[in-house]
Symmetry: C2
Subunit: 354 residues, 2 copies
DNA sequence: CTGAAAGCGCTTACAG
DNA sequence: CTGAAAGCGCTTACAG
């Protein structure tokens, strides 16, 4: 490997001069600088080795991304894709790399202290939708690196970017109830990251560790409480156990099999769109036979006429990356709450006159 | 910052012992190891600092991903998402991180030697669909790190994972012609990464620097040549200038405005699906009024009944990541060609009897 | 504007 | 099974 030292010798200058040639053009005369750069190219030196620089400066030049359990899911989910877009936009501007950290599911590995989480050379972490009590957060915190939560628990004291999930869900469910629906089903992607799927018991709902889903559920339930004559306890909640299209469809099937509902409140647009598909496959017209509402307003929601809650997904990514960069630079930890908006389209109507 | 040295002092052992406690459990007695680990936790040492380890071992523990110009696009494109899934699957297994390298569009920056491309701490690069002559490749190569091309030029001598684009395109176009189409239009995402959109001149097609698109064009043209009575020169080729849904739709509009075609051969499924949308918006039935074929077989293709070419997108990612890992480990550079398959659905039929 | 020197945190070959 | 020592490639405070 050609090092700075080699270039310095070949160019007849000190090692410091070579470093300056690459990093501090102002500290060298132009001629000197160009001479050094020319020699460097000649002997095949591509520039300072990141490992050396990183050790010396204490900066990695990269942001770590902790995404739920598996990266696989991340690339499957439209909402996540938009978030990543916002994050990478900022990363690009700031010229920092984005490091996706594979997250071994076996928490034993994480706890042991092995794993990329601890070895990844990053300056800080963005933790996306990590379930509560996930050992990853703790380990990362123990490295002493800044962490910004995205869609995480609102009460940890950690800097965080999110939306008012509970209120938005409340408002949305209120709309559904205002249309007169009495037999309502709810779909969530997952409550506890154990892959379990199917009708969720009350206990399961209480032990939910995915804070975003649980906040939304609280919002839905609150809307029922507002009405004296609607009973949240009659609502069937089905958990998909994942975020992909396949499990979403299956969850919709389970719900439609389990209860004769006139409206489905889906915790995400992906679930809502899968529900519309499944309903239509069963010959149910949306919204005439079945109303469906979602959450997120992913791009595909519009074409499907889905009534939903819009959250600024790309902007959430941007804000999160900026906040992390700020904190790395010594800025204060703070919480950013982004605005949401009820989007009325055509998938919500009054229940069919039976 | 708490270092290994601090732990060693606190535990009353040598620095080497601390290193062993974390990296080579077999070189220490169990009691000793546990004592060290306990002390480490007590004084807040989370494990070896990646920067130090990286400098010492010469390994970064991360794979770099070079994706066209902007990461933004990557998260927009279903085919890329599947590729990333395959890559991350392997990364997860091998416990290496995936570093997305923001790619400044201004090639000046790259040429200057600044930029994350040179600073990113990675052990090798996966270069995805990089246009020919892109300065990034050269710079990265100059770092002396292994590079695996994914969907790149087939004749650079660099290790590469791809598919037989030309033959597959040839076969697909042959199917279109066999159905009797004479007025055919072609859609490509981009030929030259300058964002230009619209009808592509012959010169523009020749100067194409996106090798995948140009290979597919060659295949299409070859199919025309096979037929004595079809003239490739009458084919209108429209370039979208990007990969997202919006520009894809616009390209379809441009094509349908420019020529009265009975069939559209789209260079990607995203373009094909956009074409179907636009056609239906104009009151054209697919395939009765207009046949459309795509390329890739992304998940959405099936529901749309799109006739296309299936390529194993996830597997392409897996193979590429594995190959890069192999080469980093000293394995030989080689080329992997993945199989493709013509997928007949309903979007291709005979042209309407006029 | 330039150079000599220290040291960032770690791993490993070596000697015991 | 254990420890002392070297050195990975770099940047920067300091002295000139």
């Amino acid at each position: 490997m050609v090092t700075m030292h080699d270039v310095a010798r070949a160019a007849g200058v000190s090692q410091a001069a070579v470093s300056y040639a690459f990093n501090r053009p102002d500290r060298l005369s132009n001629a000197r600088r160009e001479h050094i750069l020319k020699i460097a190219t000649e002997i095949g030196y591509a520039g300072p080795d990141p490992a050396g620089r990183s050790l010396r400066t204490g900066q990695a030049g990269a942001l770590g991304l902790m995404i739920t359990d598996s990266l696989r899911d991340a690339f499957d989910d439209p909402a996540t894709a938009l978030l990543l877009r916002g994050i990478s936009e900022v990363g690009e501007l700031a010229e920092v790399a984005l490091t996706l950290l594979p997250f071994p599911l076996e928490s034993q590995k994480i706890a042991q202290g092995s794993g990329v989480l601890l070895r990844g050379a990053v300056d800080g972490f963005l933790a996306y939708a990590l379930p509560e009590g996930h050992p990853g957060i703790e380990r990362v915190l123990s490295r002493g690196l800044p962490v910004v939560l995205v869609d995480g628990a609102p009460d940890t004291g950690l800097p965080r970017v999110g939306i008012p999930d509970r209120q938005a869900a409340h408002e949305l469910a209120a709309q559904v109830l205002a249309h007169g629906h009495r037999r309502v089903g709810v779909l969530v992607d997952r409550l506890v990251p154990d892959g379990r799927a199917g009708v969720a018991s009350a206990a399961r709902i209480i032990e939910a560790r995915d804070r975003v889903m649980s906040e939304r559920l609280i919002g839905y339930a609150a809307a029922f409480d507002d009405h004296g004559d609607r009973d949240w306890s009659t609502v069937t909640v089905v958990e998909a156990g994942g975020v992909d299209h396949e499990v979403s469809r299956r969850a919709a099937e389970t719900l439609l099999d389990a209860a004769a509902v006139t409206a489905v409140i889906a915790g995400t647009d992906v679930l809502a769109l899968a529900t519309i598909e499944v309903a239509q496959g069963r010959g149910l017209a949306v919204p005439d036979d079945l109303s469906v509402v979602g959450f997120d307003d992913i791009p595909a929601a519009e074409a499907a006429g889905l009534t939903t809650v819009r959250q600024p997904l790309v902007d959430k990514g941007r804000q999160a990356a900026r906040l992390l960069l700020e904190i790395i630079d010594g800025g204060p930890a703070r919480e950013i709450l982004l605005p949401v908006e009820y989007v009325r389209r055509t998938s919500l109507a009054s229940p069919p006159a039976r």
